[in-house]
């Protein structure tokens, strides 16, 4: 599928970050791009940054709503008859102590990150299976979908683990269908996006207040780490390289693998999840 010219790409969460970079990348390849986001202003920016803005249609969409996603899918297929790349990419981040984040916050994180992906699968996959051309569903998880135990990261890592599991099942299920539709799981590491300011997408009365200095410090540290990571454009390029190779796992940065090994080893040995002190000792000790 390396000739993307004239093919169709649908991208959720295309108003900023990785989604915006993917939309611009797809447009540059000559694809018809339908860029969706709850943030209309962000979508306009995506279009204005693109080298081929005329290739990008924008669509205001709340991925949490199954009805909205269903009408979105219908409109995409009415206009283009096929979707060759579907990026279920919209994602937000809630962090903080598990027991202190409100249930509303938890639900918001799961509704966007998990149900957003599920709604995309539900509305698009049946139509893609009946189209007469190849297609791929790429769900954006995170290395946080493979690594767990991050301090104050339960909501986010919980949603991303769900995305990984859902995508692996989707892959297995699609393999049983005769249509040339496949799935892939995108797991970016530290990337400079606006996800650490996800509150900007919520009404002001729902904005988070991290309650302790500890949570605030951790938030700033991880956000700072991501700010120094890859650019969204680099992630988009790496993602396309992996799509060309038909990879299921898409890891724009693979430096997290030693930490994944550590986790798997602890699980296989039925050990307690390592404490911060132990993790630190391990990190310092064996030069992973």
């Amino acid at each position: 599928m390396s000739d993307w010219n004239g093919k169709t790409a649908v991208i959720t969460g295309a108003g900023s970050g990785i989604g915006s970079a993917l939309a611009q990348h797809c447009a540059a390849q000559g694809m018809h791009v339908i860029a969706a986001d709850i943030d209309q202003q962000g979508l306009r920016k995506t279009k204005s940054y693109a080298s081929k803005p005329e290739k990008i249609e924008i669509y205001t969409l709340d991925v949490r709503s199954e009805d909205a996603v269903e009408s979105f899918a219908k409109q995409c297929f009415n206009q283009h008859n096929e979707v060759n790349l579907l990026f279920n990419n919209a994602g937000v981040l809630i962090d903080g102590k598990s027991w202190e984040r409100s249930i509303k916050d938890w639900r918001w994180n799961f509704d966007v990150n998990v149900m957003g992906v599920v709604n995309g699968i539900h509305s698009f996959v049946p139509k893609m299976l009946s189209q007469n051309s190849a297609g791929k569903i790429i769900n954006t998880a995170s290395i946080g979908g493979l690594l767990a135990g991050g301090t104050y990261l339960a909501p986010y890592q919980g949603t991303k683990h769900a995305v990984v599991a859902i995508t692996e099942s989707l892959h297995a299920e699609l393999a049983l269908e005769s249509a040339p539709i496949t799935a892939a799981c995108l797991c970016p590491g530290d990337t400079a996006t606006g996800i650490w300011e996800s509150d900007r997408l919520r009404p002001s009365e729902e904005h988070n207040q991290l309650l302790s200095d500890a949570e605030q410090q951790m938030h700033e540290a991880v956000a700072g780490m991501c700010a120094n990571g890859l650019s969204p454009a680099q992630v988009a390029t790496a993602t396309f390289d992996a799509i060309e190779k038909d990879q299921f796992w898409i890891f724009p940065q693979d430096q997290f693998k030693p930490m994944l090994e550590l986790r798997i080893e602890a699980i296989l040995k039925e050990q307690q999840p390592p404490s911060a002190d132990q993790l630190l000792a391990i990190m310092l000790n064996n030069g992973l």
């Binding site: 500890a214 951790m218 540290a221 780490m225 430096q255 911060a276 630190l280 310092l284 000790n285």
Partner: protein
């Protein structure tokens, strides 16, 4: 330096205080993501830190280069008189690690035992931005303390720069940079002293100790090279250039005259030992007042472990600090 060369007998262990032998073997690589994760775990362990009840702790955000907002933590004893001496403290950690409980312990010790305000600088780490970001931040912190001395309750004639390991290197560089910038300042910054504790000060990593100590606790030949690789990545020097960035590598400065009095504390079984001694000797030649105290039987970052050797050399350091500050002695 010959006497140091002979301390190692290849067939026998180093004559290190056994209290330090349980240090974890640390092996760093240039995997930046791993270093960033390491910092998250250091932060997670640090979040449990409890300051002594006798201290006031406050945090300042100050302006540094490239629009960076720099965190400076002010630590002082409750009831400390106004116009107090100030220690601008640069923590160690190979330029790429954030401060750990040990550094907070040090800051606390200085504040409690030397009757001064400690300003601990959360400079940008090399995982985030290579040289000169850390030096820019360190210098910005010193100039901010000096420029705001009155509001901060600081005696601007009694400012000391102090640092351990990479922080010791930053303290040495800040002393040099301050000396140079003074030429164009209407109001000079007269540092009372520089305290360089097992400092990093030579990017060439070619001294006898830097090549010999491949397996010492905590700090090794390998780690030393990785540290410079990360810190100077992108610099012309690391790309094979001949010009050594002198403010990154204090020992390479030609003219050392006029620098503030130095207390230099190398540790015996440390790849950085010889560069600290070399710097001390060079400062002496330039007529800078130098107190050189080699911590025998100690290793890099020895303060991580409480033992007699640690107590001994910390006491010597605190006495020297109190002497410079004109206080009678450590209580």
């Amino acid at each position: 330096m010959e006497n140091h060369m002979n301390t190692r007998n290849n067939d026998k262990p180093y004559a290190i205080d056994p209290a330090y032998l349980n240090f974890p073997d640390m092996t760093f690589t240039t995997n930046l993501l791993k270093l960033r994760f390491t910092n998250l775990f250091i932060l997670a362990t640090r979040l449990r830190y409890k300051w002594s009840k006798n201290l006031n702790i406050s945090t300042h955000k100050i302006d540094s280069t490239n629009g960076h907002k720099l965190k400076v933590i002010e630590i002082s004893k409750k009831g400390l008189a106004d116009n107090a001496p100030a220690l601008v403290y640069f923590h160690g950690g190979a330029f790429f690690l954030t401060y750990a409980g040990l550094h907070l312990d040090n800051a606390q010790m200085y504040a409690e035992q030397a009757n001064c305000k400690v300003f601990m600088v959360d400079y940008r780490l090399s995982t985030k931005a290579p040289f000169p970001a850390a030096l820019d931040d360190s210098q910005a912190a010193l100039e901010w303390v000096h420029g705001n001395a009155k509001q901060l309750g600081v005696n601007k004639e009694k400012i000391i720069v102090i640092g351990d390991s990479a922080g010791g290197g930053l303290a040495a560089s800040v002393a040099q940079l301050t000396h140079d910038r003074n030429k164009n300042r209407s109001e000079k910054i007269n540092l009372l002293a520089q305290f360089l504790l097992y400092p990093v000060c030579d990017c060439e990593t070619k001294t006898a100790s830097a090549t010999e100590f491949t397996d010492t606790p905590l700090w090794t030949t390998n780690n030393n090279k990785v540290m410079w690789e990360v810190y100077l990545r992108g610099s012309e020097y690391k790309k094979g250039g001949e010009h050594i960035p002198t403010y990154a590598s204090p020992v390479h400065r030609q003219d050392l005259s006029g620098l503030p009095p130095a207390y230099i504390e190398p540790t015996e079984f440390d790849p950085l030992r010889d560069e600290a001694i070399n710097y001390a000797e060079a400062l002496k030649k330039a007529a800078v007042e130098v107190t050189l105290v080699e911590a025998k039987a100690a290793v890099h970052g020895y303060e991580f472990v409480d033992c007699e050797t640690t107590t001994k050399y910390r006491k010597i350091r605190m006495d020297a600090l109190n002497k410079v500050l004109g206080h009678s002695s450590t209580e």
